[in-house]
């Protein structure tokens, strides 16, 4: 979720939320405390898949959860309490659009009471000031607002929601007026990558504390829409270098986190900081996943918070133990010096591209599929963008990406 950084003299180490497991802030004793020491630090709660926007790079699965399958208020309240008790430190309330839940207030209250640092990740087109004020009173700590582009017309084409930009700007102003930190989320792809500089200006103008330059990651809807989204190698490199210069210039003014697209990388990203190591994700229907795309891996069983406790699932669920540590690895990961650093990259990407989740992430230059994957990305980026398959329930059942795995190099 965010970069690992070291502070100057080593007195204060900033770790990413998905890095080092840590223990709870809520008082725990004895055996529970020992278990807490293994607990994740971050919880992504996808409260609903309902969303007013239809972005073609949505990180939700292709099969969107129906409203009648969503967890009850009581279950989410219990999840928040359990999360605090087991040592989770931060909760990210997301979706879909989390404000589509009428009981978001109760969930925020429960999260805050459990001692969790509570982050609302919103599209901000349906949030009014009164509701935001109420959420802040209930203990909301941070708001992240996505902007589909800085040009309103293009943004509203990408999100398929007319009038979105003005509403987002209003909510962003309210957030800072109410004294809350604001993160501007900038999902970057070939249709807005020319505006990275203007995103930085926007974030400063809005008084944001943080900007997330989030190059689209190609899973789910984004995988399906890759040819509409993937920038060229040169565009990608230029934008990364530009952000790195700006980050230095804006030290102490704006924190810029960058998620880079790994199709053009040499080393894979340490996905989720390691499978089942520091992070868990709960779907609208209560399934607990090691990452939001984990359901794309066949053969994994995901337990539900309605059946088992969160701590039990974290420690004992088959899905969490499937790729924990390094024992599951094949070559070239197994004998690699970086295996404890990048954990072989992303299991879901290995699955999507090579049809075997235990393979090295093809983003790694050591993967025999790497050359093929880069060639595919370059060739898609060189052609005109394909039309968007918008993320909505109507496209959901029909949206089946071509699951033809690539051929490894000889």
């Amino acid at each position: 979720m965010s970069a690992t950084e070291l502070n100057g003299n080593g007195h204060c180490q900033s770790v990413s939320v998905d890095d080092e497991p840590t223990a709870g802030v809520v008082g725990t004793t004895g055996a529970t405390a020992a278990l807490c020491a293994l607990a994740p630090v971050g919880l992504l709660a996808e409260l609903t898949h309902r969303c007013p926007l239809q972005c073609a790079y949505c990180s939700n699965p292709l099969e969107l959860e129906r409203v009648n399958k969503e967890l009850s208020t009581e279950t989410w309240v219990s999840v928040m309490r359990q999360a605090g008790e087991m040592g989770i430190l931060q909760v990210h309330l997301s979706g879909g659009e989390p404000t589509a839940r009428k009981d978001l207030e109760d969930i925020v209250t429960a999260a805050s009471a459990a001692g969790l640092y509570t982050n609302l990740i919103t599209a901000a087109v349906t949030l009014n000031r009164g509701r935001l004020e109420d959420l802040v009173k209930r203990g909301l700590d941070h708001v992240q607002i996505s902007f589909q582009d800085v040009d309103a017309e293009n943004a509203e084409r990408i999100g398929a929601y007319p009038g979105a930009t003005a509403k987002k700007l209003d909510v962003a102003r309210w957030v800072t007026e109410l004294g809350l930190p604001l993160t501007v989320n900038a999902p970057i792809h070939r249709q807005n990558i020319h505006n990275v500089g203007r995103y930085i200006e926007l974030a400063i103008k809005l008084g944001a504390q943080r900007l997330e330059v989030a190059h689209v990651q190609y899973y789910g809807w984004a995988y399906l829409n890759r040819a509409a989204l993937i920038p060229t190698y040169d565009q990608t490199l230029q934008s990364i270098e530009f952000v790195e210069r700006e980050r230095e210039r804006l030290k102490g003014v704006l924190t810029i986190d960058m998620v880079v697209p790994d199709y053009y990388a040499k080393r894979p990203k340490p996905c989720m900081g390691g499978w089942g190591k520091g992070f868990m994700n709960i779907t609208p229907a209560g399934k607990v996943l090691p990452c939001h795309a984990a359901e794309t891996i066949p053969g994994l069983h995901f337990d539900n918070v309605q059946d088992r406790t969160l701590l039990d699932i974290w420690l004992n669920s088959g899905a969490f133990n499937a790729f924990r540590g390094t024992e599951w690895m094949k070559e070239p990961c197994r004998s690699c010096a970086f295996k404890e650093i990048d954990f072989g990259g992303c299991r879901c990407q290995a699955m999507a591209i090579t049809a075997d989740a235990r393979n090295t992430d093809p983003a790694c230059a050591l993967s025999p599929y790497h050359g093929e994957m880069v060639a595919l990305a370059r060739s898609e980026a060189a052609k005109p963008p394909t039309p968007f398959v918008y993320r909505n329930p109507r496209n959901s059942p029909a949206a089946k990406p071509e699951q033809r795995p690539l051929v490894p190099a000889e």
Partner: protein, 100 residues
């Protein structure tokens, strides 16, 4: 590149009155017996020295008063502590974790 004057980087000096912005939460991590500083999408694990400094960053004391208080508490020379405190606070300010 910006029309309006952008917010400037805080340069921490002896006269700065540092404080933690309200969105940072310094909490004791009971299970592990350590402190954590919770920030947007970040978790920092300050060591004992950093915690001692952060607890004194109340927006009332200037850096020099923080240095004096720590020098007294730890019976250490103020020059050594001053360098350490300035380094620490500048590092945190550059990440947006300390205002003044």
């Amino acid at each position: 590149m910006n029309d309006a004057a952008p917010p400037a980087r805080l340069i921490v000096g002896q006269e700065t009155r540092p404080y933690l912005p309200p969105y940072l939460k310094l909490r004791h991590d009971a299970g592990r017996g350590r402190w954590v500083l919770l920030a947007p999408e970040r978790i920092l694990t300050p060591d004992q020295t950093a915690v001692a400094v952060l607890k004194l960053c109340d927006g009332k004391r200037i850096v020099e008063e923080i240095v004096e208080a720590l020098a007294k508490e730890y019976s250490a020379p103020a020059e050594v502590i001053r360098t350490d405190v300035l380094d620490l606070l500048q590092g945190l300010a550059d990440k947006g974790f300390i205002k003044g």
